[in-house]
């Protein structure tokens, strides 16, 4: 699915990622944990192509294409989806209008016909229901006045609608109560299949009880310093990150 090699990235000339390697096969779920400031969110932003995140070295090849050479929207159309930690509000632009433009762009890229508005609406209604949001959310401005939990569910709803190949969840669990967390986890689990991969960035082991990863990686000081199975998350919860700081693993 994606092969990240020796990735170096800086923000305002300050190196954040310092040689990150990660290989993800189709169908796998990789969790990335690590202390604050380790570069967890930077990874998602660099892969999605956010401005201001400068790649200084390395590569990220997704399905045979070098991601880092593509524009942000091209990466999205190739099937990369970033669920934002803090989804921004876009007043005046309705969720529905926004989703239609997005789905149209992705379908066009895939050589598919655009969905007509009847079918699109039907699909959108379905997905809104699946994430336990009221139908009225489709008419409201993108994230406008949504609570934190509603914003996260809105992200999940978009993910379901766009059916991406690689989903990056950037601290999607932060700030969610247990009920909302379950809704998000159920949505993600329902989307898991042999062709779709996930990078789950989180600060808390709790999420991994609901979305069970195939691999857990520890990101510290811009590199992956330890990898393991899901049991590594429990170990981290118990011991903290201190024992890894020196990069002994």
């Amino acid at each position: 699915m994606i092969s990240i090699k020796n990735l170096h990235a800086s923000v305002e000339d300050k190196p954040i990622l310092k040689g990150l390697n990660l290989d993800i096969k189709p169908g796998e779920v990789h969790a990335i944990m690590g202390p604050n400031g380790a570069g967890k969110s930077t990874l998602g932003n660099v892969l999605a192509g956010r401005e201001g995140y400068e790649v200084t070295d390395g590569s990220a090849v997704m399905n045979g294409k070098e991601l880092l050479e593509l524009e942000t929207e091209e990466r999205a159309r190739e099937g990369l989806f970033l669920a934002f930690q803090y989804p921004v509000e876009i007043p005046g632009v309705s969720n529905l209008e926004f989703l239609k433009a997005s789905v149209d762009a992705v379908r066009e890229h895939q050589g598919k016909d655009a969905l007509d508005s009847v079918n699109f609406l039907k699909l959108a209604r379905e997905k809104v229901k699946a994430v336990n949001l009221d139908q009225s959310f489709l008419k409201r401005g993108v994230n406008e006045g949504f609570s934190g939990g509603e914003k996260k569910r809105n992200e999940l709803m978009q993910m379901m609608l766009l059916e991406p190949q690689l989903c990056i969840l950037d601290e999607t669990d932060s700030g969610l109560d247990i009920d909302a967390l379950q809704v998000v986890a159920n949505g993600v689990n329902a989307m898991r299949d042999e062709n779709r991969s996930f990078i789950v960035v989180t600060h808390y082991q709790r999420l991994l009880d609901y979305i069970v990863p195939d691999y857990v990686h520890v990101l510290a000081d811009g590199k992956i310093v330890k990898s393991g199975g899901k049991e590594l998350a429990l170990e981290l919860e118990e011991k903290g990150y201190g024992w890894l700081e020196n990069g002994e693993a």
Binding site: S41, E73, F81, Y86, E89, F98, A105
Partner: protein, 490 residues
């Protein structure tokens, strides 16, 4: 909202927004049409010439001369926040007409095909069979009206829709009664000038109780170089009648500035309703701020008892715009509305807004103004809400929003609020926002390219105004914004 890892990320200038793509002004072509153009200069003889050319009655010639003499005594206004080279009024020509119009075409078949072609290019077919269904068009080319469509159908309903120069002859009693009744000759510098030299424009009269069977539209085109366009529109909606009117404007791309100083007067008698929409796309000048139209327009309406006047405008063109479509809410329970989108890019300057003068009891007004500034442009809302001592129970609501795209432009709000009645209620709100990097990133991460994203955000910003436009023009207005912004968005 920002990513935790790098709180400074939002500080970064958005290069994408500042990247420029050069797009041509689509209506910028020049028509090769032989014209009869008066040499530059303005004096009493010029005014007599214009009046004689149109075979005007004596009273109108005198009316013009009175306005001219008033104008001579007036000083050109100075506005804070608007900078431009003052026009040299003696270097302008005050009359220009396509030569083929000299004898006056009797019907569309006699109109110079080149002229018709010009309007086809602009997307306004004047042949009735091709015309937009349900829209009657009066086309004004430089100083004269070239064609008015659907006249027969309108006459059946008793609606008068014709060039004002023709109305002077055919309906002198109406013209004489209402001309200058809303905007007096000496109202301001440009209205005085217009009153002296106005060439043509549209005249509309809707009889009592009649609902005009179709949209009426005037299309203004400046073609000739070094001319000023001074059209005059007069719309009278008699008791209980209803009319929706739309004007559109374009001009060729020329290096020098051209002056457009129109006067529009609306009279809404008791229980009448006038909806006046404008899509203004005069040539805005080039990227360096060279050329473009000076658009100095006086528009005003009087609303009598229970009448309603609604101004909707989408202003994307002109180098300098100065206009304040206003409502004098004279009759009790009368209603005034102003919905405006003003977009400025490159070096454009707009100073626009409205005046709502509440005289009658229980009068209501609503002002929704959306200003979009991009490039190095300056965009100002200037408005007046005035509750006079008789305005018992009057209400106003004003919402002024500004959207800034880039850090070289300016957005300004100057609302004057004057109240003399304790039961009058005025609410004014203003906000400012930008198209943020975070918003663009979210859209792009979902596969929507920057241009489409900006267009969606800008259209969302203008939604409240667009919904006031007649359907087909709302679509046109949205597209116009997109094209006008193409200089500012990467």
């Amino acid at each position: 909202m920002n990513d935790v890892v790098n709180p400074a990320a939002a500080d970064m200038p958005n290069q994408e927004i500042h990247q420029r793509i050069r797009k041509e002004y689509a209506a910028g072509f020049i028509s090769e049409i032989e014209s009869e153009t008066l040499p530059p200069g303005l004096n009493e003889d010029v005014i007599r010439f214009i009046s004689a050319k149109k075979g005007e009655p004596e009273w109108l010639t005198e009316w013009r001369l009175k306005a001219y003499n008033a104008w001579l005594q007036m000083e050109e206004p100075e506005w804070a926040h608007v900078e431009y080279e003052k026009p040299d009024f003696q270097a302008l020509s005050y009359y220009s007409a396509p030569k083929s119009m000299a004898d006056g075409p009797k019907s569309l078949d006699e109109v110079d095909p080149k002229l018709l072609e010009t309007y086809e290019k602009l997307g306004i077919p004047l042949h009735e069979q091709m015309a937009l269904a349900g829209v009657a068009v009066d086309a004004v080319f430089d100083s004269v009206s070239v064609a008015t469509t659907f006249r027969d159908k309108l006459e059946e309903a008793g609606v008068i829709f014709m060039p004002i120069s023709e109305a002077v002859h055919k309906h002198p009693e109406l013209v004489k009664k209402y001309l200058g009744s809303v905007v007096p000759q000496r109202d301001n510098f440009y209205s005085a000038l217009n009153s002296a030299v106005f060439s043509d424009g549209s005249f509309v009269y809707i009889p009592k109780g009649v609902r005009c069977p179709m949209e009426l539209s005037t299309y203004f085109r400046i073609n000739e170089a070094k001319t000023g366009q001074f059209e005059r529109t007069l719309i009278v909606a008699d008791e209980g009648s209803h009319v929706s009117y739309l004007e559109g404007c374009t001009a060729p791309m020329r290096d020098e500035n051209q002056l457009h100083a129109a006067v529009v007067e609306l009279v809404a008698m008791d229980d009448a309703e006038i909806k006046y929409s404008t899509v203004q796309n005069w040539y805005p000048g080039d990227e360096e701020g060279k050329g473009g139209i000076y658009n100095f327009v006086t528009k005003r309406a009087v609303a009598h008892t229970n009448a309603k006047v609604s101004w909707t405008q989408v202003e994307t063109g002109s180098a300098v715009t100065w206009k304040y479509p206003s409502c004098i809410l004279k009759g009790d329970n009368s209603v005034g509305e102003f919905y405006s989108v003003a977009l400025t890019n490159n070096f454009q300057q707009a100073d626009t807004g409205t005046k709502m003068i509440h005289l009658g009891k229980n009068t209501r007004s609503t002002i929704i103004s959306k200003g979009i500034s991009a490039g190095k442009s300056q965009n100002a809302y200037r408005g007046l809400v005035k509750m006079n001592s008789g305005a018992e129970g009057a209400r106003n609501f004003t919402q002024c929003d500004s959207l800034l795209i880039g850090d070289k432009c300016g957005a300004h709000t100057f609302p004057y609020i004057e109240s003399k009645h304790p039961s009058a209620v005025i609410e004014h709100e203003a906000t400012t926002s930008t198209v943020s990097d975070d918003q663009l990133f979210l859209c792009r991460q979902r596969g929507i390219d920057t241009e489409k994203a900006v267009s969606m955000i800008v259209n969302g910003f203008c939604k409240e105004v667009f919904k006031e436009l007649p359907m087909e023009f709302a679509v046109e207005a949205g597209k116009l914004l997109e094209i006008s912004l193409e200089g500012s968005v990467g």
